[in-house]
């Protein structure tokens, strides 16, 4: 049984005899020498990851102005920062969007601009107090003008991420990137074999106080991250580091179309090989790491898993989804992850970075629960109109016009012989046909690409569908595509008016 202490390993780092390898290189070493041999041979295994980490941000301290102000509201390049902490402290979060530039520029960009030494416009307001009389502050600063710029990321380094695809017939823009219709592509994130937490799944050496690579400099693990959920394999970490020492090589702003901004964070954790169990754990490969492929076409936080998939399969370039070969792509950069693991390795070899033991282990039994909702979310079935007129696809134009007139209802779902929904006719379609003097069958004038909902869908989802598709009504269908009702934007506005 091999046993080493942190002090022994740090002694070797000091005298230059330390043997450091990356988690990728470790796979073969354990394969060749076995866990015991590898534990004797290797002192430290380095990991690395570089990907979008939305839950990131920076604490800033501006120093006091003359006359002084206790800032209540603060904007940096027009991006709001939280300043409800003392007088001149603020937290700029990565996903906060700019007031003027919207989703294009956000907190993440402010953070990258700070690292790059660029000037930032500061606008702060206050109600004024006897001790802090000033009410407005406008100034321009850069990172060197700040007393502190401390990156503190509440939830980074997810142990693993779900992979994403889209079963609907339209493109989705998500934080997992563009998802093409009909399972047109699959996206995923995470460094697989180099993933920090997968290489120490029992958190033997990763915990509060562990020294790490963060953004190109030394940082620390504060403790478990928010939503830390080790039982389901989704552990997370809260990290801190000095932004003033970081490099834009490893911290990059990003913006996801239709979603908003995020921060790409480069981080790596060195794992001291204290015994053969740790050596064995660091030999994990892409094929050992399993995640779920989720359908982002389902707008719920409880998305069903289409299949389980390994990182080995995801990284091969394509996977099988319901019998079809689908191209995969990563949102995180494996090349950069590798660069980080190698840089950390070089630091340790050069005696510039010493490994540490956690002062506190991470919890291993917490779970991540859903938000408690104190009021019941109404469903489409609760407010839809069930008394809905429908029309056969083979019916004539006149029948459709007459039904719309009689029922005073501007949307008419169209069904086939089996009463399954095949389209929708609106008063507008009728007017168009009249204008063109084309009095055809209903099936010729109807809209075939119809957006639908179901009785058990949440009202908020139906509202989002109405809005994003610019339609004013959705037929409500059951699992057999039978029309059971209709819901209009009016129904929803009335409900919302009551709610507010």
């Amino acid at each position: 049984m091999v046993k080493k202490t942190i002090h022994e390993i740090n002694g070797r780092i000091r005298d230059g005899s330390v043997n450091v390898v990356t988690a990728e290189e470790m796979v073969d070493i354990v394969g060749e020498l076995g866990a015991e041999g590898a534990a004797k041979e290797v002192d430290v295994v380095t990991t690395g990851t570089f990907g979008a980490m939305c839950s990131s941000g920076v604490w800033l301290n501006f120093g006091h102005s003359e006359p002084p102000i206790r800032i209540n509201k603060l904007w940096l390049n027009d991006v709001e920062a939280y300043s409800g902490v003392a007088a001149v402290d603020a937290y700029i979060g990565a996903t906060q969007a700019s007031r003027s530039k919207g989703l294009e520029y956000g907190g993440a960009h402010v953070i990258e601009d700070l690292i790059r030494g660029r000037s930032i416009d500061v606008h702060g307001t206050s109600s004024g107090t006897d001790c802090y009389p000033r009410k407005v502050i406008d100034t321009t600063i850069n990172i060197y003008d700040l007393n502190q710029a401390i990156m503190l990321n509440p939830r980074n380094s997810y142990q693993k991420y779900n992979a994403a695809t889209n079963s609907t017939n339209h493109t989705l823009n998500t934080y997992m990137g563009t998802l093409l219709p009909n399972h047109g592509n699959v996206t995923y994130s995470g460094a697989g074999v180099l993933s920090p937490m997968h290489n120490d799944p029992n958190y033997e050496t990763i915990g509060t106080g562990t020294r790490i690579f963060l953004g190109g400099t030394q940082g620390y693990i504060v403790g478990e991250g928010t939503q830390h959920s080790p039982e389901s394999g989704f552990g997370t970490l809260m990290l801190k580091g000095d932004l003033k020492e970081m490099s834009s090589e490893y911290i990059r702003a990003a913006s996801f179309e239709g979603y908003g901004t995020s921060l790409y964070v480069g981080m790596g954790i060195p794992i001291p090989v204290l015994n053969e169990d740790i050596a064995k754990a660091t030999a994990i490969t892409d094929d050992d790491i399993v995640t779920n492929l989720l359908d982002y076409g389902i707008p719920s936080s409880n998305r069903p898993s289409i299949r389980s998939v390994t990182y080995g399969e995801l990284r091969s370039g394509s996977i099988d989804v319901n019998g079809k070969e689908v191209t995969t792509s990563s949102l995180s950069s494996f090349k950069k992850s590798r660069q980080i693991a190698n840089e950390l390795k070089d630091w340790i070899k050069a005696g510039e970075f010493f490994v540490s033991m956690p002062v506190e282990r991470l919890p291993r039994d917490t779970a991540c629960n859903s938000m408690k909702l104190s009021s019941v979310n109404p469903l489409v079935g609760d407010i839809m109109t069930s008394d809905v007129s429908i029309i056969q696809a083979e019916a004539s134009f006149n029948d459709a016009a007459k039904t719309i007139m009689d029922k005073q209802f501007s949307h008419l779902p169209v069904v086939d012989k089996n009463n399954s929904l095949v389209g929708i006719v609106t008063a507008w379609d009728i007017s168009k046909a009249v204008a063109k003097a084309e009095y055809d069958l209903v099936k010729d004038i109807m809209t075939k690409d119809v957006v639908t909902t179901s009785p058990d869908e949440a009202i908020d989802i139906a509202a989002f569908k109405l809005d994003s598709n610019s339609v004013s009504a959705l037929p409500v269908i059951d699992a057999k595509k039978q029309v059971v009702g209709i819901i209009t934007s009016d129904d929803i506005s009335k409900l919302l008016a009551r709610r507010q």
């Binding site: 570089f50 990907g51 990137g177 093409l180 996206t187 191209t327 792509s329 494996f334 090349k335």
Partner: protein, 128 residues
């Protein structure tokens, strides 16, 4: 050279491509074709000296012709080589090399623009 021919729904059922080829004798080499009930789109290679003829012929028949001479270009400073663009390109312009670097083959690009919205780092532009 690469061209894109767009055909509106009102004329999509007419054999205008065939007519134009017969009329001009131009060697149109179709690399991509997409038709649905709203419109048709064809991407083809054509010898540059024949371009003028076939364009005139197609335009007369109601099609729209654009030269695809502004393919995708990548800002290497902004790109982090994640590879997100790989899975959205319909013609396989992007791929990851053995060392996980991003490789781009702009010659294949049909300027659809899909990768522009996908790239989280705003590193892709058409035509520069």
């Amino acid at each position: 050279m690469k061209i894109k021919i767009s055909i509106e729904s009102s004329i999509v059922t007419k054999p205008i491509l065939a007519e134009a080829i017969v009329e001009t004798g131009a060697l149109l080499n179709i690399s991509q074709a997409h038709f649905d009930n709203t419109h048709g789109e064809v991407v083809a290679d054509i010898p540059s000296e024949q371009f003028g003829h076939i364009r005139d012929s197609l335009v007369k028949k109601g099609a729209e012709v654009v030269v695809l001479d502004t393919p995708i270009s990548r800002d290497e400073e902004e790109c982090v080589e994640c590879g997100a663009c790989v899975s959205v390109c319909p013609v396989g312009v992007f791929s990851l090399a053995d060392d996980w670097s991003l490789e781009v083959d702009p010659d294949k690009c049909i300027q659809c623009g899909t990768c522009l919205t996908m790239c989280p780092h705003n590193a892709l532009v058409l035509g520069q």
